[in-house]
Amino acid sequence: MKPEDLFDAITEVKEEYIDEAQQMPEKRSPWKKWGVLAACLCAVLGVGFLLFPSQGPEEPAPTEQQMLATGSNTAPTEPSEEPTAQPELPTEPPVAVSIDGELPKLEVSNYFGAMGYEGYSVYDLEEKDSGNPWTEEMQLETMPVYQNLAYTDRAGTPDYLTAHQMSALAQQAGRRIIELQDSGKYDGISEDYRSYYGVITEDFAIQGQTTGAIRLNLYKEKSVKEPDSLEEAQTLAAQLTEEYGIFFTDETLLPQAWGSYDIYGEGHWQIGAYPASDDPLQSILNYNFRSLHFYIIEGSLSAVVFSNRFLSMQKLGDYPVITADEARKLLLNGNFITSVPKEELRADTVREEDIAAVELVYRTGNVEQIFMPYYRFSIRLRDREDERSELGLKNYGAFYVPAVESEYLTEMPVWDGTFN
């Protein structure tokens, strides 16, 4: 979504609010004092909220053929009233056919979006930990790299799965839920702003999205207490995963919770889950590309999204990867990408003592052409000049070192203190 879309949507807010804004206000003398300095404000613009690498989507995805097969008698305009058997869904994304058998060189994208930097304020980095299954002990020698088929240029909207595929996706998921609940009614497909709702009942709607995600919108009030701490978030994640996970997959799901604190020191917690696997590599892929996310608004669960990037990506090959130790050396050598401005660092450059944690992640945003693994280092930054430092919150920023061996990269990134 672009700011233009938001500006555009603002046009349509309630007419009474529009009218209300046009009334002349009573002039008053200045408002109550604000404690924060303007300079400080500028410094924190855009920080406060963290960007977790969007942990990808979810569940095994149907191939186009399978989706078309399921949906063959259920064209978007003429939905079938008779549910057909659910097809087996592949758990692996398709492999691209390499012409010469060689691994193509990869380009590191250092685009981070226009807003703020990827930083997080927490008391303890554990609060930001979202249950990444990767550990340094895994000693992975190669890792798969994928092409993002739903790639979109900067800030654009992804457009990959066709309308037919999205509706097939929504129908499959909808039938599953109806069967599991033994209730509900198949109401067909409706198209609305490029979204495809497969099943709509009074209680919920299922939507297939162009990247392969399935979104369950809950219309029936489902009260949940918004978590006030990581522990509460974890408990809630376990409860909701138990209750809703089965709607999306038969796999065992590992609940996750993570969060950070805003500029007023208030914690914001997110909850989700991803499919467990005995295979460590599969676990990592699930964590990054197939995950469940719960959206809670005003004490009520409003939506559950099961992302599945497997539906909109294609494997390029297994690439040799470096170890976290080797990545650490590259980091200290300036071979990284980051959205953190130089002035936020505690010294002129990243120092050994500022490295607080490392994990391996795929960068999976829509603007990534290639989904490749990175070592993400959490680097301790300068303390914020606001309520957060008084509360004892520590400020960290994300620094990424490509995990793929440098000979497979078109160019090793060198930080010059700027980004984008």
């Binding site: 938001l6 500006f7 555009d8 603002i10 807010v13 969007s54 807003m115 999205q209 959206y295 829509n366």
Partner: protein, 185 residues
């Protein structure tokens, strides 16, 4: 003149309708257009185009809230014109507005889902409902009317820098709301 009377003129196909509309709402509509398109002839054309559109729409359309409906028309038309011609419009107020609104969105890499406009509007309405009347008015004057901060500050008898901080908090609050709403990841 009452809105009802103006609307009656449109229904009678009486061209005074446009004159009366302009007399009552012209200043507001021109300022909305100007805030998006700048001071040039385009703003002027934008409002004139809108009058033509109103003339062609009523009847059969009968807007319930005439002023808000007019405002929306002119705003939508101005956005379209801006989109068609943005290369030349680097310095207009809208560019600044969009930069500010960008703070309400996560960086592109974390946006994984399409956002429906309807969903976004609903979320905006829900968030606006949580604000005090004064905050809501300030937010809409800035982001619906597109009024420059200075003007709003003057109207409200507030220091511009204080207003800027207020706006910052409102944007952060909107962002949090959109995230909670599930509109943003």
């Amino acid at each position: 003149m009452d809105d009802d009377k103006i609307l009656a003129l449109y229904r009678q196909r009486n061209e005074d309708a446009i004159y009366e509309t302009d007399r009552k709402y012209g200043a507001l509509l021109r300022s909305i257009a100007r805030n998006i398109l700048g001071d040039g002839a385009e703003s002027h054309d934008c409002v004139n185009d809108t009058y033509l559109q109103v003339w062609n729409s009523i009847p059969p359309l009968l807007p319930k809230r005439f002023s808000a409906w007019l405002g929306r028309l002119v705003r939508n038309h101005a956005i379209d014109l801006w989109r068609g011609n943005r290369a030349q419009k680097r310095d207009c107020e809208l560019t600044l507005l969009l930069e500010e609104l960008d703070e309400c969105l996560p960086s592109a890499q974390s946006v994984t889902q399409e956002v429906e406009k309807r969903e976004l509007v609903e979320a905006l309405n829900a968030w606006l409902a949580t604000l005090s009347k004064e905050d809501r008015r300030l937010f809409l004057l800035r982001y619906w009317n597109g009024e420059p901060l200075k003007e709003i500050a003057q109207k409200h008898g507030v220091q511009p820098d204080k207003l800027a901080r207020k706006m910052y908090r409102l944007r952060q609050s909107l962002r949090t709301a959109l995230e909670k709403e599930g509109v943003l990841p």
